[in-house]
């Protein structure tokens, strides 16, 4: 079983939802980033999602875009991410996931990327600009290294497409809560519940709800329909305001 699934099931067995914080690599700066990761890990993250910065992050809202562009300006790249993770391999309790866009991964070389994920203890990958139709060549390169390609689905994904995504999927399935980009929302669309039910019927791996999630209270209405929550923009804004990751994680305990 993929380590991401193991960790989410672990949280579940304690009656909790799995916590999946997202931070762009190198945010808020090179040094502090690794300290934030440690804090998130200690505070009970099941999976830590590390953003690979890209110049044109079409699926992201302004908060994530600004943070990633700053990391790019600071020279963050895949080599820096992998080197840092290799140095710390075995130190995290949480499973690790890389999230980004295809082009930087493609230029790095898919086979090398898969091998480096394994060497760095990364067990999952999200590519925001790659639907099912284009995903075979990436899967073939990374799965032999034990790295799962996490499917993203949403409010407009038909049950038929969900089934295609679920075939051979491992780790977890990422359910995008809004038709739009990442970023905090005051309220979540009503249709989520019904689509989450569909997803639950289709996938036999955990379902994580993400995009627009700000506070654990928002999750109450989805009890039983999802297994983990992803939060990015809210965490980034919190850190930008000078607060610590540990503080952010408290209400979720």
């Amino acid at each position: 079983m993929n380590p991401m699934q193991v960790k989410i099931e672990e949280a579940k067995s304690k009656g909790k939802v799995g916590l999946i914080p997202f931070l762009p690599a190198g945010f808020p700066n090179r040094e502090q980033f690794w300290k934030e990761l440690e804090q998130l890990d200690k505070a009970g993250a099941s999976v830590i999602e590390i953003g690979m910065p890209f110049s044109d992050p079409v699926a992201d809202g302004p908060v994530v875009e600004k943070a990633s562009l700053k990391c790019l300006e600071d020279g963050i790249n895949l080599t820096w991410i992998f080197d840092g993770l290799k140095e710390r391999k075995g130190q995290f309790n949480a499973a690790l996931l890389l999230m980004g866009y295809l082009n930087p991964v493609y230029q790095y070389g898919l086979d090398k990327f898969g091998a480096d994920c394994k060497a760095a203890g990364v067990s999952g990958l999200i590519i925001a600009d790659m639907p099912l139709e284009e995903s075979d060549f990436v899967k073939e390169a990374i799965e032999p290294h034990g790295v799962a390609l996490v499917p993203l689905i949403g409010l407009n994904t038909s049950k038929e497409r969900m089934k295609l995504y679920s075939d051979g999927a491992s780790g977890f399935c990422y359910f995008v809560s809004v038709l739009g980009t990442t970023g905090q929302r005051e309220s979540l669309p009503a249709k989520i519940k019904e689509k989450l039910k569909e997803a639950k019927e289709v996938f036999d791996i955990p379902i994580a709800l993400g995009f627009g999630i700000k506070h654990p209270d928002q999750l109450a209405e989805f009890e039983g329909l999802m297994d983990a929550a992803v939060f990015g923009s809210a965490l980034i804004s919190h850190i930008e305001a000078g607060n610590s990751s540990t503080q952010f994680m408290e209400p979720w305990q």
Binding site: S55, D56, N103, E133, V178, G180
Partner: protein, 387 residues
């Protein structure tokens, strides 16, 4: 071959949330486009509103100066001033028949924004236009036109504030508004089915030009066909019906920027590498690490770090030659065509005209048919600063 691919290029590299509207569009393309209703209405609009067929014009003075036969396909004479209208009326009508009521578009030079706004007005739809903040300033006359005709204009402040970023923001908007909105993509690039759909609407350029040229030249074809390449829509339209004619040399002209060593350019076919941006595998200006590089051209409509995937394939298989013209050479062509023929070309199209001027020695005695993709009124502000 995989669906939506031209050789190794093309595809649908886009968030899953955009797949349903892309699939819906592809189905509409297959079911609505071939209907008699669509074809009749579209042909009628092209004739009555755009002014098609557009003329082809022989340039006697420049031909004499250069020692070749220079012909222009006059897309600058279309209503709203460029080839862009062929595509926006096609996509607009398709969207209307799909039941959408908003046309969303990105624009660089503003010509596509203007053309989308015209289509929206004609079809009683709403236009929402994303434009890089830099281009809003560079192409102010077009911004004024769009506002007058009722478009909502969103100035994009992110990234390089040009076309690339306008596309990013428009894609983000489409994610949210997909039920009511059609993304009226402006060039033969982006995710499948856009490259094919846009080519379908633009190929009328070469369909007309090929016949018109033969009618004027005792059934002979031109020796050389030339068009400027930004995203690649006027060029693919100009090339499409000449591709099977083996005797015709086809040339695409990209923008070399200032031409100084190390400067930015907009020539991904000439200087780029394979990569993925805006939904397609294509040639891109990018770093070794896959970050997209800023582009530069004095012609805002060419200022884009990528190019439509069919051009990448036409280059790879050797059918079309792609070359570059720099800002200075384009300005020279802009002035020459204006003075010698009384035709003010868009700065984008000036790149294609400049090809004939700069290569006149190799082209002696040959017939050269250039796609004059648009008119240059919009560029007088840029030129004021330079001339």
């Amino acid at each position: 071959m995989k669906k939506g691919y031209f050789g190794d290029f093309g595809g649908q590299f886009i968030p899953e949330l955009l797949m349903p509207p892309l699939i819906e569009l592809e189905q509409a393309m297959e079911t609505i486009l071939p209907t008699e209703e669509f074809q009749t209405r579209f042909t009628h609009m092209l004739k009555e509103n755009v002014g098609r067929p557009s003329a082809i014009t022989y340039c006697p003075n420049l031909s004499k100066d250069l020692g070749l036969d220079l012909w222009l396909k006059r897309e600058d004479l279309n209503h709203s001033g460029a080839h862009k209208i062929n595509n926006t009326l096609g996509q607009g009508l398709l969207a209307k028949m799909m039941g959408k009521d908003v046309l969303l578009a990105e624009t660089g030079a503003g010509m596509h924004g203007v053309a989308t706004t015209v289509a929206a007005a004609m079809l009683d739809m709403k236009a929402v236009i994303y434009m890089g903040a830099t281009d809003v300033v560079r192409q102010a006359p077009n911004v004024g036109r769009m506002r007058l005709m009722g478009a909502e204009i969103v100035a994009v402040e992110s990234g390089t504030k040009t076309l690339k970023d306008a596309i990013n923001e428009a894609l983000r908007r489409w994610l949210s508004d997909q039920e009511t909105t059609h993304y009226c993509f402006g060039t033969a690039a982006g995710p499948h089915p856009f490259p094919t759909l846009v080519r379908e609407f633009q190929q009328i350029i070469s369909k007309e030009a090929r016949q018109q040229f033969m009618d004027r030249n005792e059934g002979n074809l031109p020796d050389v066909v030339v068009a400027c390449v930004g995203g690649g829509s006027n060029a693919i339209g100009m090339f499409h019906n000449f591709v099977p004619d083996e005797s015709v040399k086809i040339v695409g002209v990209e923008a070399a920027g200032t031409g100084e060593p190390g400067c930015y350019n907009s020539a991904p076919l000439d200087r780029g590498t394979d990569g993925v941006l805006h939904g397609m595998m294509t040639k891109l200006l990018q770093t070794e690490e896959g970050q997209i590089l800023p582009s530069h051209s004095i012609a805002p409509g060419l200022d884009y770090p990528g190019v439509g995937p069919e051009h990448a394939e036409l280059q790879a298989c050797g059918r079309v030659d792609y070359t570059t013209i720099n800002d200075g050479q384009a300005i020279n062509a802009f002035k020459l065509l204006s003075r010698r023929e009384g035709i003010i070309p868009a700065l984008e199209s000036s790149h294609a005209v400049a090809y004939a001027i700069e290569n006149r020695e190799q082209l002696q005695g040959k017939s050269v048919l250039v796609c004059l993709s648009g008119r240059g009124d919009k560029d007088l502000g840029i030129l004021d600063e330079i001339l």
